[in-house]
């Protein structure tokens, strides 16, 4: 049956990117519960459009759907007060060897996490896609619907902003 074959192919090609999909959704929505809803919805949408997917790289393709679903989610939730940032820490991912470096790494990653959360959404997005997902400028341009040239300038501003936040030299201006 065509539908089953298609579904199996979909699961094989798209499901392995669940981690990337969840990470992006989690960073944009700011909490586990909404991220999970967005991911579920994204996969249903992705399956629906899978017939039209001719590309070679399914991860950026899926991420563009996740990003779009997130935008819809944000538009629906922006005014209902669910934009709080819950800065919970889970130490389960730490993999360093000795206790001291574990502590150091935890403190550092907590600080960096908070700084990324403080970035404006359009900066946070390019940082996640570039630094965490290692996507090319072209792929990021496609996902964020911006020209490739804008990706570089936005990344550059996003990084300076992140640097500012990290060095604690936070000023009210965004900088040029």
């Amino acid at each position: 049956m065509l539908r089953t074959t298609e579904l199996v192919r979909f699961e094989k090609i798209v499901l392995p990117h669940l981690g990337a999909a969840f990470n992006l959704a989690r960073w944009i929505t700011g909490n586990d519960h909404d991220a999970e809803d967005v991911v579920q919805e994204s996969y249903v949408r992705a399956l629906k459009f899978f017939g039209g997917f001719r590309g070679e790289n399914s991860r950026p393709w899926l991420l563009s759907i996740v990003r779009n679903t997130c935008l819809t989610w944000l538009q629906q939730n922006r005014f209902s007060g669910s934009t709080e940032l819950d800065v919970e820490i889970d130490g389960r991912e730490e993999e360093s060897e000795n206790p001291e470096s574990i502590l150091l790494a935890a403190a550092q990653s907590q600080m960096v996490r908070k700084a990324i959360e403080e970035l404006p959404p359009e900066f946070r997005e390019v940082i996640i896609l570039r630094e965490m997902e290692d996507l090319s400028y072209k792929e990021i341009a496609n996902i964020a619907s911006i020209p490739v040239g804008t990706v570089m300038s936005r990344l550059s501003r996003a990084r300076s902003r992140l640097q500012e936040l990290l060095s604690g030299a936070r000023t009210s201006g965004v900088g040029a």
């Binding site: 699961e11 809803d37 991911v39 563009s64 779009n68 993999e95 996490r113 965490m132 990344l155």
Partner: protein
Amino acid sequence: MNCREAQELIHGFADHELDLFWNLEMERHILDCPSCSGTHERLRAMHAVVGGNSLYFHPPAGLEDRLRANLRKGRRVDKVWTNAHSWRVTGMAATLALCIVGTWQVAGTRQGSSRAETIGQEVVASHVRSLMASHLTDVFSSDRHTVKPWFNGRLDFSPVVADFADRGFVLDGGRLDYLDNRAVAALVYHRSQHVINLFTWPTMRPNRDIRTFDRQGYHVFNWTKYHVAYWAVSDLNPEEMRNFAEMMRKTE
């Protein structure tokens, strides 16, 4: 290469996005310049820290299983698109393509207004983005015989492109956009200082008369004709917007 040039390229360099020539130029410059070399090091350090596994959010246990189950049931999870059972009956024996059509039809009859609200919001967001990003047009032309063919091969449909310059609505060009989870045609017009974005894409829905929404000071006009959805948005006053929409709707 001087430092000013190097600073412009340094992100592209750190991200391995430069071509061979500029890459070599940058490598040479960084060897000689402690300041740019420092910037480069900081960028690499940032990549290592931010890209490290500890900041990556991992999906909760069981999500993959829940997802598989959902996909196999073909069930939608959000509250907006709820009525899964009616198309299940009609579409069960059909191919995947037919299933998708079924979903579209149900979507059309059931959750009309909330869905329209969502699209209306997306339309306004796209309009605002197009103005902010100075990415108004991909093809810049007031000639509809230039604009229309430009979409060939870029979209799976051919949008209606009309020109109303003689009535004060000047065609500026067109671009691709992404709305309602698909690539759509965006046609850009202006009247005096006001930009109008007209988004259009094929739909399974029946014809629908013009309806309007107001969002964040923008006026949105929507109608459907011959299975094509039209969404016009602008900060132009509602009377003139209606004029535009009526003219557009009468275009064959």
